[in-house]
């Protein structure tokens, strides 16, 4: 910089890499292999590699994010092309073996926290393109921390047993009775999209419960909601366009992509093309509705009364009176699937800790719900949750304060978590 004949002219476009620029920076035609690289860049977005393979404050693809599974913490690996600490010395065969069989470069088993049960469905061609793209990104020298798993789970060979029991899928085979769009959607959702990794409930071994595809799941104290056609808890009231909108922009007329979905939008959905987003939506809308359990009786009248007061004072300034919201800005709360999940953990997590929403070039504002851990007690959060879960067309079991207290502790929010602004205390 500053070395050109005319020093005031802008230097070459920045060599700095951000996660978004990695996925969207155009690959020049002159690059050898440009077509395959572009395909791989796109597939890296579809597979949402960045959301797991980037730790807070770290470089995209260098790994190091601690994924809290029910079995312990597993750290994502370095998939940048560094020869010593990343995949720089790998062959495309080795990469395909990891994606398809969950086997690492030295023949070791990879934990299914790396979603190879879904990546298994990816074609060889797509895997090769993805591998070529990863190899073209800047190498980062970084060693992730060791996994924190209790004996005997730290011994990778135990995964062989898991695979025997639960690894049933294989490369995607189109269903000829369905449209090309549906098949594309199925390939994306069941493959690189790995939606079911979060959105299908898991058994005690961490494998999909059979027959409950997309009925919802829990991860990291968030709830991945029901994605079936259930009108109360799933996507029953959403159109195909609504789903595509949500994935692309992180916001639609019904909801905003917070919690774990924020990163999915920012690093995946926002980078995908409309046809694929539509295909995903088409496939999801075809999922049979999760059966409704018999609903609980009416909620406690006192909780509803207290919750209404809390809502009016603490929530209405964004979500407005009667929960009408400001669609595409602050979600409307009536007939809201996210609020009516059987497991209220996601809602309580949201109120306790807040969340930002996923962003894209078209919708860059990371509108955020603030953390209410300081402002509301466990009982107050329980009551306002009961209230909104049973107002404006919603119906769901009430919440007990003890559940809030438990989650508050898990999220380490019993003490205030300050910001760099908090210089006026004591």
């Amino acid at each position: 910089m500053g070395q050109t004949a005319n020093p005031a002219l802008p230097a070459h476009p920045s060599t700095a890499i951000t996660p978004t620029s990695l996925l969207s920076q155009p690959i020049p035609d002159a690059t050898p292999n440009a077509v395959q690289l572009r395909r791989g860049q796109y597939l890296a977005a579809v597979g949402d590699c960045v959301s797991c393979h980037m730790r807070p404050g770290g470089e995209p693809l260098a790994g190091g994010l601690g994924l809290k599974t029910p079995f312990g913490t597993i750290y994502s690996s370095n998939i940048s092309p560094d020869r010593d600490t990343g995949i720089g010395a790998w062959s495309s065969d080795q990469f395909y073996r990891a994606m398809h069989d969950g086997i690492g470069a030295h023949g070791e088993n990879l934990y299914p926290a790396f979603p190879y049960p879904w990546f298994r469905r990816v074609t060889r061609e797509d895997a090769d393109a993805l591998f070529a793209f990863l190899q073209s990104t800047p190498p980062v020298h970084y060693v992730a921390p060791a996994n924190e798993l209790p004996f005997p789970l730290g011994i990778r060979a135990v995964v062989k047993g898991w695979n025997l029991l639960f690894l049933k899928s294989d490369t995607y085979q189109p269903d000829t009775s369905k449209s090309a769009e549906w098949n594309r959607g199925a390939y994306l959702v069941q493959g690189l999209g790995h939606c079911a990794a979060c959105h299908t409930p898991k058994n005690m071994f961490g494998a999909d419960k059979s027959g409950q595809d997309f009925h919802g799941g829990q991860l990291d104290n968030w709830v991945a909601p029901d994605l079936t056609a259930n009108a109360r808890t799933g996507l029953g009231l959403w159109s195909v366009d609504d789903i595509a909108d949500y994935l692309r922009a992180g916001r639609n007329m019904h909801a905003a992509a917070g919690g774990s979905m924020a990163d999915v939008v920012s690093y995946s959905g926002s980078q995908m093309n409309d046809a694929d987003l539509h295909a995903i939506a088409t496939f999801l809308k075809s999922q049979p509705a999760r059966p409704d359990e018999a609903l609980a009786g009416p909620p406690d009248a006192g909780a509803m009364r207290r919750g209404a007061a809390i809502y009016s004072d603490a929530c209405a300034s964004c979500h407005l009176e009667n929960g009408v919201g400001q669609p595409r800005f602050f979600p409307p709360l009536g007939h809201d699937a996210m609020l009516q999940q059987d497991d209220p953990t996601g809602l309580l997590h949201l109120i306790l800790a807040g969340s930002h929403i996923g962003v894209s070039n078209a919708a860059p504002s990371p509108l955020a719900m603030p953390s209410f851990a300081w402002k509301l007690s466990d009982a107050e959060i329980a009551d306002v949750s009961t209230y909104i879960r049973n107002s404006w067309g919603n119906q769901a079991p009430g919440i007990d304060a003890s559940k809030v207290a438990e989650l508050r502790k898990k999220l380490d929010l019993t003490r205030p978590r300050l910001t760099v602004n908090s210089g006026d205390r004591k």
Binding site: M1, G2, N6, P7, A8, L9, P10, A11, P13, S14, A16, I17, T18, T20, S21, A314, A316, S317, C318, Q326, R328, F329, F330, G354, H356, V359, N361, A362, A363, P364, S365, P366, L367, A368, M369, P370, S371, F372, W374, K375, T419, V420, N421, D424
Partner: protein, 589 residues
């Protein structure tokens, strides 16, 4: 010993409105830009959330978002016969700090200056004679840029902020319901005006009865949800009444955070560093070119940041101080009248009238920072000043920004400030009273200026800025006149009684008036009487630009932010169109 960093195309000093707008413009043009801000990162949901933003004690009185004068202040005096002493506690003006700075806690009042404001000297001299612009030690100057040249830049800021209002003059045609005195607009406001509460409505009706032309104040508080050209989104204002001095918790006030940062922060060629204070601009030995800036961070580490361009956007006071500390331009000497840096410092001339009703509930707590019905009939040169003995004017606003009880309890004339009588008056009048604001111009005078203090130093050992300022006879006459007009409107509202709060005596650091400091790095047509040209480029060091209201040769009767932002766009566009292709002076001296 400062460590040297890799060079960048542009370094931006201070990261409020002007820094954010300039950074966005330069980054879109492909430059590598680093912005340095000496305060902290701030954002809506973490730092002024809906759950705790409405805290009058913490934000208004404990100054939590404002500059902490414990660490950096300035010295003040009314004239050179006094010793300047430190402003030991913020009062008259509430300086910002941190990311977004004053743009976080401003009112959201978005104005354009009048076309005649840009030619305050020649226009008034022509109409009222030479004495009108040079008597009373006036040093009024023409700007060297016209309203018409700036119109599209004003428009850009309106679209960025989603300004809510009603045009008064649209493509040459007068529009009912708008300000009939305003300069011409090329487009309608992006959003309709905010709905008015009772007090501004009554004010407007009274003003109409008196033959004036009321219109809704243009607001940066949103009347409806809005998405700006950068894709950034703002929600609808809920009239919470905790606007000015406060961050907005529900994204409904225009700020760098809500309008620019969502777009700008995504750019790989933009880097923001917080807790970094720029000590000085570094120059080549011949002092004709800046090589970059030296800064120190809160860890005590010192760095030299080389840059092709230095943009000063650290607010008028720090900008002028940095120019003086860096030796850019000749410092102004009020005794000789020579020199330019620090010259023509000005402020805002404020007064008010309270109206008290028995028969009406006004609910003052329902408010927004720019919620008002305004008349401009007595601003600028919108009226005949013959025989009045002053130039300039003020807008009169029936304004309800909130009803925060520590700050905004109005009691009738003669009520003591404490005791049972005060308490009873507060209880009786709180819901039924409000204030009409008179927001007046402030001309420049020979004796009002900024320079470096000879005695007091900051924590880095650098001299503090010294402010020498007082209202002139021109300001007092103007203020008395327009305050009287405001009192007439107040009486026409048929209250039980009114109370007139005039601007009397010398300027004082208490109480709060406005944070509209202007001048000191003024714009002009020639280096002999100004610091920067119309593109805010230093006459002396062409790769240094000084943004902000320091460029105003004198202050008009409007809030400055709209004009500050317009000048920034105007400068940025010229930098991109001409300067980058051929760096050097953009205006031949």
């Amino acid at each position: 010993m400062a460590s040297q960093l890799p060079p960048v195309d542009a370094v931006i000093v201070g990261f409020g409105w002007t820094g954010a707008i300039m950074a966005q413009q330069l980054c879109d043009a492909g430059l590598n830009v680093v912005a340095l801000e000496r305060g902290p990162w701030r954002d809506t949901a973490t730092d002024f959330a809906t759950g705790f933003a409405q805290d009058e004690l913490r934000y208004m009185w404990r100054h939590h978002l404002f500059q902490n004068v414990s660490y950096d202040t300035l010295t003040v005096r009314n004239n050179t016969s006094q010793d300047a002493l430190p402003m030991r506690h913020l009062g008259s003006f509430l300086l910002g700090t941190g990311v977004g700075s004053g743009g976080v806690h401003w009112n959201g009042q978005i104005w354009r200056f009048l076309p005649s404001d840009f030619n305050a000297r020649s226009h008034n001299a022509q109409r009222y004679g030479e004495d009108a612009v040079s008597g009373d030690d006036l040093t009024v100057q023409d700007w060297g840029v016209s309203y018409d040249e700036l119109e599209s830049s004003y428009d850009a800021f309106d679209k960025l902020c989603g300004t809510c209002g009603k045009a008064g003059k649209l493509n040459g045609k007068p529009q009912p319901g708008g300000n009939p005195f305003e300069g011409n607009r090329s487009s309608e406001y992006p959003n309709p005006p905010m709905a008015q509460t009772l007090a501004p409505t009554l004010f407007g009706e009274a003003a109409t009865r008196l033959g004036y032309h009321p219109f809704p104040h243009p607001t940066g508080n949103m009347s409806q949800p809005y998405t700006n050209p950068l894709g950034a989104q703002m929600g609808a204002c809920t009239y919470c009444g905790f606007c000015e001095k406060f961050g907005c918790g529900n994204y409904s006030k225009a700020s760098p955070q809500t309008t620019v940062l969502p777009y700008l922060m995504r750019k790989p060629n933009f880097v923001l560093k917080t807790e970094c204070e720029v000590l000085r601009v570094e120059l080549t030995p011949d002092r004709k070119r800046a090589t970059g800036i030296t800064y120190v961070n809160s860890a005590g580490e010192e760095f030299f940041q080389p840059a092709e361009m230095v943009v000063l956007s650290a607010y008028v006071l720090q900008n002028v101080r940095l120019l003086l500390l860096s030796g850019i331009g000749k410092p102004y000497d009020p005794k000789t009248g020579e020199g330019v840096v620090g010259k023509n410092y000005a402020y805002q001339t404020m007064s008010s009238v309270n109206a008290f009703f028995d028969d009406k509930i006004l609910n003052p707590f329902i408010g927004a920072g720019a919620l008002a019905t305004v008349i401009d009939d007595f601003n600028g040169d919108n009226f005949d000043h013959s025989g009045l003995g002053f130039i300039g004017g003020a807008y009169i606003a029936g304004m309800v920004t909130g009803g925060r009880p520590i700050e905004m309890i109005y009691t009738p004339q003669g009520t003591p400030d404490w005791g049972l009588q005060w308490k009873h008056a507060a209880a009786k009048n709180y819901l039924r009273s409000f204030a009409i604001s008179v927001h007046g111009s402030c001309m420049s005078h020979r004796g009002n200026y900024l320079d470096l203090d000879p005695t007091y130093r900051d924590i880095h050992g650098r001299p503090m800025l010294r402010m020498t300022f007082d209202f002139g006879a021109n300001e007092h006459r103007m203020s008395d006149y327009v305050t009287d007009r405001a009192a007439e409107v107040a009486r026409a509202m048929n209250p039980r009684e009114i109370k007139i709060n005039r601007r009397t005596g010398s300027w004082s650091v208490t109480p709060y008036q406005t944070t509209h400091n202007t001048g000191g790095a003024i714009m002009g047509e020639s280096p002999s009487n100004s610091v920067v040209n119309k593109y805010l480029q230093s006459w002396d060091v062409p790769n240094v630009f000084s943004l902000g209201a320091g460029a105003f040769p004198q202050n008009a009767g409007y809030n400055p932010t709209g004009t500050v932002a317009a000048l920034t766009y105007f400068s940025a566009r010229e930098i991109i169109a001409r300067y980058l292709k051929s760096p050097g002076p953009l205006v031949q001296a």
